[in-house]
Symmetry: C2
Subunit: 362 residues, 2 copies
């Protein structure tokens, strides 16, 4: 399959050289694409150039095959319209995490804008700026492209080519489907994590001291940047509201079940069952459901080199590690390392690790 | 400090040889304590004995210094009362994860029962039964002991001795404080995780396919045993209700903020800020707040031996690993390994790994 290099033979112009823009530049340069960079902050641009993400765009440049706008959601439409009006690029896309809002704003500026198509690579890191950029950031991640009935086929072709050359797995869906999907799998989980973490703010120390790995998992993403998340949630407010009102209905039923004189076990059981079923639908590292992996737990202590020795032995056993977790023992130099492997390979791994002297409980 | 061996010189009787009972037997045997075991299922008892958790209790045995009742919460009171009535043990405790319900039921049977004190080791695994038992299960974990004004000092002394000999960190608090604490740090997070996971049950495949590590973290514990969790939540219904009604108030404010014509950014920002603050209060491996660790991220691919080589290099760099996460790339053989270390040691680790050829983005 032609991977899209020819569709981009006139090069790509990336506007905004933060984490996403710079990562994309690095990936496209590696794929041999001519990449021009632009940023309103000259130091940010200079750092991206120094890292090898592309060359600075110049006034005399011929129009790029595609402009990729990697700026905050609320600034997307203005940049896209300027880019196309000025002839800096023949077509344009953006990489913001919401799609209805920029699409509407572009339409308000340009009318039905066939030369623009929104897109969203499902990739990111907790750091921002060009210094955190990775050429592999998009590797294997979904990259959603959202055409509508007015979109030129060339815009779609070029956006898909960029996604593919960056190593992502391109997928097309409507703007509405995209925004509903990210509300469900990203924005609502963030709010739920925050709602739980907020309960801890004023809790007495003796309660916090009993916290274990469960509450830590649930609240991990609540640590994300408050300003950025406020923007994201505001820009996708309606779709997030839909998911959370369904959740509130379940929460109200749960509160009623807990408040009834004899707690309503069947209602609680139904909810717990839905939790197990919903959890089972999530994909793992290779796209399978989590339920398809098996966990091998190994006791380790804090002596230097324990993890290195463990993974050397895991490797010698020929096991392919799908995921790793360390189950903490607050204040103590001992813990359980949980290694997820494919079913059918767990028994051999247990045997091999036990033979090498590891404590491997069932 | 005398660690409590003499307080238990007449031995410990463990009733219920599931995961907790058998793990405790293994830990106490290792500490040189005489351990007798009892279980209504003869195969379960036999397995615990075979694993080395103790010897079967016999009709002619002298009273044990302490009976430890490790049966489901709703069965605790009956077993405790029978044990003390029959003179099988001088004092008794239990290890159920709720404390008000068994204490009330013991009182209903025995009156103010000075010879019983409830306790709760904050330890567990996702497997059940004696086969999953670990002598180190309690190592470094909080073990809460809940005396009241009627409790004999000897009951407390002996329960604390068991906790200490099992390697746990004993702490005393009232029954009400305990139940409020576990509602906050364990039961409410479980329900929140379930409420989010339940949203995924009927979601279309194209939405699920966009799921990443965030929703996976939030919903991890939702996979727990529905029957067991129904019992736990029913037994601590009032305290869980308190936490969740506060959460519902925040949720209602959030829904209102999302539904207002121009989303109310300041309300959303306040909530996000509380999430960050609450998350920051959770202890890490050594009891510090998470915020006190720094993450070093390293790109790895799926080639055999990558994790072993990485941790060998981490070890050679002299770094002490506080936590590890693998950030998945569904369907692709590449990922980001995130290693948490103490602040001040991260720069050296980055340098050392970079020198050894690893891709270590900022």
């Amino acid at each position: 399959m032609e991977n899209g290099r020819s569709a981009l033979s006139d090069g790509v112009l990336i506007v905004g050289t933060g984490l996403l823009g710079t990562s994309l530049g690095l990936a496209l340069r590696r794929a041999g694409i001519d990449v021009r960079l632009r940023d309103t902050k000259s130091e940010t641009l200079a750092e991206a150039v120094r890292l090898g993400a592309g060359r600075p765009s110049e006034p005399g440049d011929a129009p790029a095959a595609l402009g990729v706008v990697a700026v905050p959601p609320e600034a997307v439409a203005g940049v896209v319209a300027d880019l196309l009006d000025a002839g800096d690029a023949e077509y344009a896309t953006d990489v913001a995490s919401v799609k209805a809002m920029p699409a509407e704003q572009v339409r308000a500026r340009l009318g039905p804008a066939g030369r623009y198509v929104g897109s969203h690579p499902m990739a990111g890191r907790e750091v921002s700026g060009p210094g955190g950029a990775l050429p592999d950031l998009f590797e294997g991640r979904p990259w959603v492209v959202c055409p509508d009935e007015h979109t030129d086929q060339q815009a779609v072709t070029r956006a898909l080519a960029v996604a593919r050359l960056a190593g992502a797995a391109p997928v097309t869906m409507s703007v509405a489907d995209h925004d509903a999907a990210v509300a469900l799998v990203s924005h609502a989980p963030h709010l739920v994590s925050v709602l739980m973490a907020a309960r801890l703010v004023d809790a007495p120390d003796h309660e916090i001291r009993l916290a274990g790995p469960g509450v830590s998992d649930v609240t991990r993403i609540a640590g994300g940047d408050p300003g950025l998340w406020t923007e994201i949630l505001s820009a996708n407010a309606a779709a997030v509201h839909d998911v959370l009102s369904d959740l509130r209905d379940d929460l109200d039923r749960t509160l009623a079940a807990l408040a009834s004189p004899e707690p309503a076990r069947s209602a609680l059981y139904q909810l717990m069952r839905s939790g197990v079923d919903g959890r089972g639908r999530l994909p793992g590292k290779h796209g399978e459901a989590h339920a398809e992996f098996v966990t091998v737990a190994v006791m380790v202590d804090d002596r230097p080199g324990q993890l290195a020795r463990l993974f050397a032995d895991v490797d010698a056993a020929g096991a392919n590690v799908e995921d790793v977790r360390i189950d903490h023992s607050p204040g103590q130099p001992v813990g359980l390392v949980e290694i997820d492997v494919r079913p059918g390979t767990d028994a051999d791994l247990r045997t091999a690790l036990t033979e090498r002297g590891w404590n491997v409980p069932r």
